[in-house]
């Protein structure tokens, strides 16, 4: 396959999926009873002007889409409306301008809040996932190489147990343990009101806050990556070309390094990408437990505060992040697999 056509295909598919999510996001919030727009104009926390602003922003006097006054299919209405005046179009054009609305809770633009939070989530996921992937693959390689030995069985037992732990519960237990016995902070990203003498101190404070959440992340995903690596590698090591490599006189170490790992990486990349949904689910739980100011925590807070614009925005951003991460994994695959590279 030509690399460029592979690239174009993947980009096109990602764009289509993002469009789908945008449409879904609009209709979800309009169909379901908790419609943020209508909830907003009744929300007692908002001033009359703010409610009027919402009405205008969402175009609430306008039909949802052409021919339908609302999403109740019985409310057939005017089809002659200028499509540019419908609520959907207003939503879409607001979105294009990056306008995701105003948080009911903080009265700040949702995009500003989420923009700050996206980086915190990336920091947390980055720290936890990198550790989990590196450690998981290392243990997985060992388990596959020593398949059906006590090493392998121990690793398997650990993985199954780790897989069965609810992420949030593991977080709670680690938090309880860390804050009681290790004197670690009980949440957040920085110690409130702390004045730093220098940036090292600031970094140390961040590390103390990051330690438990990323440890939770690592434990939860370590087992999973280990299992995947193990089974992928066992398949690879059963291939004929491994026997060839052995016949050539390579040592086990050389075979693993030069012949097995790259072949095992291909399915690994795909599976890590497929697991991104779990990664995000993990972020929601861990950030909720550790009050980590990320996108996942935003979802938790928005739910509890009935802050619908925040919820809608956070969901959209999370979904788009996963799609983009998936795209990156696809491109990485194309880079790793010579069958895609060459033409």
């Amino acid at each position: 396959m030509h690399r460029s056509s592979y690239l174009a295909g993947k980009l096109g598919w990602a764009a289509f999926t993002i469009l789908f999510v945008i449409v879904l996001n609009f209709f979800l919030f309009r169909i379901l009873p908790g419609d943020p727009a209508r909830a907003g104009i009744r929300d007692p926390r908002l001033t009359a002007q703010a409610q009027q602003a919402i009405r205008e922003r969402f175009g609430l006097d306008q039909p949802v889409i052409n021919c339908f006054e609302s999403l109740n299919p019985l409310t057939l209405g005017n089809c002659a409306v200028n499509p540019l005046d419908t609520q959907f179009f207003i939503y879409a054009s607001n979105l294009l301008r990056g306008e995701l609305g105003i948080s009911y809770h903080t009265n700040r633009p949702v995009l500003d809040i989420l923009g700050e939070r996206l980086w915190n989530t990336l920091l947390l996921i980055g720290a936890g996932q990198v550790l989990a992937i590196v450690l998981g693959m290392a243990v997985g390689v060992l388990a596959a190489w020593k398949a059906h030995t006590p090493v392998d069985y121990t690793a398997l037992g650990f993985s199954l147990l780790a897989w069965s732990l609810p992420t949030f519960w593991l977080g709670i237990i680690l938090l309880f343990w860390g804050s009681t016995y290790l004197g670690l902070p009980i949440g957040g990203k920085v110690t409130p009101g702390m004045v730093y003498a220098n940036s090292w101190e600031q970094l140390a404070d961040l590390a103390r806050h990051l330690f438990l959440p990323s440890l939770t992340y690592t434990i939860v995903f370590l087992g999973e990556y280990m299992l995947i690596m193990r089974s992928t590698l066992v398949d690879v090591l059963s291939e004929d070309y491994i026997l060839t490599a052995k016949a050539k006189g390579l040592t086990h170490f050389q075979i693993l390094k030069d012949h097995a790992l790259k072949n095992a990486m291909l399915p690994m990349v795909t599976i890590i990408a497929l697991n991104l949904g779990f990664t995000v689910a993990g972020a929601v739980q861990i950030e909720s437990v550790f009050s980590w100011p990320g996108l996942g925590g935003a979802i938790f807070e928005a739910v509890n505060r009935r802050d619908y614009p925040m919820l809608q925005g956070a969901f959209l951003l999370l979904a788009i992040s996963v799609i983009v991460a998936n795209l990156i994994a696809d491109l990485l695959y194309g880079y790793l697999d010579p069958r895609v590279q060459a033409d």
């Binding site: 199954l160 519960w169 237990i173 090591l237 059963s238 291939e239 052995k246 929601v284 739980q285 928005a302």
Partner: protein, 316 residues
């Protein structure tokens, strides 16, 4: 995979010899037993209306309350035993929905092929990439957080994995001789699916169901922990939500945090182990490989390494 009665007996025989599968099965039976017997084995009735007495809150384990009390002074053990009912109910019903939807989509896509398959699998791919926990949170938050809604949402978001697996299996079954022959002699689609495809896909669906149950239970507990549980019930996730948001941490009430989580881990682990065991029993695969422990010369007696005199020549 064998689908005859003898084949199923073979699977059972292999499962019985599989330690993981048997431990999982026993653990699951225990969990179901607890859920069924909760009213008889619980020391207290969690539904009894009592006034909250400040002194009862977060009492540590004692003979009266083996697992202590919670934020409202209720007996944690009783709540824990009753909580099994919620988890298992959600697990079974939600996974039933997931597996039905996923199975239908997978079989249709795999069997019908062509454009239907393209559309169905594209849809599956999209659903697969949308992170389902946040989506579930959004939907449950926007609707009423009732047990039914939770079951529906978890069930309707959890079918993608099943659909992909079932489609792959259907595609391979479709190539089998008797299916090809049945199609050639003009048997109807629904007949072929019922008589030939489904029985061969079923074992895979069963294994998959066990794993989907564990996912559904994890999802339910997460939703409940995030504050989206049915207020009329008390699931393990909700127990954790109450404990976590109502000061168990600062009160040092570890029992209120540990015990419900233990229940979730128990049930999820039982399904995971059973799933693994079932899979190995259905697909006994040799999992050695070219680097597997090299014991080529292990049994070789030393003396045979000496060149042996050729004594094979007969009557020359």
């Amino acid at each position: 995979m064998e689908t005859t009665a003898a084949g199923y007996r073979g699977v059972w025989a292999r499962l019985r010899r599989n330690p993981m599968g048997m431990i999982g099965l026993i653990m699951l039976v225990v969990a179901i037993g607890v859920a069924v017997l909760a009213p008889w084995i619980s020391p207290y009735d969690p539904h009894a209306v009592t006034r909250v007495n400040i002194l009862d809150i977060y009492q540590p384990p004692s003979p009266a309350h083996w697992f202590g009390t919670d934020d409202a002074g209720r007996d944690v053990l009783s709540n824990f035993l009753y909580g099994a009912r919620v988890s298992l109910t959600v697990g079974f019903f939600a996974s039933f929905i997931s597996v039905t939807v996923g199975g239908l989509i997978g079989i249709s896509a795999g069997f019908l092929g062509g454009r239907t398959e393209g559309i169905l699998m594209r849809f599956t791919d999209i659903m697969l990439v949308i992170p389902d926990l946040p989506l579930a949170v959004v939907i449950v938050a926007l609707t009423k957080p009732s047990l039914t809604n939770i079951i529906l949402v978890i069930g309707l978001l959890g079918w993608t994995g099943t659909a992909r697996l079932v489609r792959a299996q259907t595609l391979s079954v479709k190539q089998r001789k008797f299916v090809v022959r049945a199609r050639a002699i003009g048997a109807g689609n629904s007949y072929i699916i019922r008589r030939h495809i489904f029985p061969l896909v079923l074992p895979l669906i069963v294994v998959n169901t066990v794993l989907v149950i564990s996912l559904a239970i994890l999802n339910e507990s997460t939703l409940s922990f995030l504050g989206l549980g049915d207020p009329a019930t008390l699931s393990w996730g909700q127990m954790l939500n109450y404990a976590f948001t109502r000061g168990a941490m600062s009160a040092g009430a570890w029992w209120a945090l540990v015990v419900p989580g233990f229940g979730i881990v128990w049930v999820v682990l039982s399904c995971t182990l059973l799933g693994q065991g079932l899979e190995q029993a259905l697909n006994p695969r040799l999992t050695t490989h070219h680097l597997a422990a090299d014991r080529t010369l292990k049994n070789l007696p030393r003396w045979e390494l000496e060149p042996t005199p050729v004594e094979q020549a007969g009557n020359v």
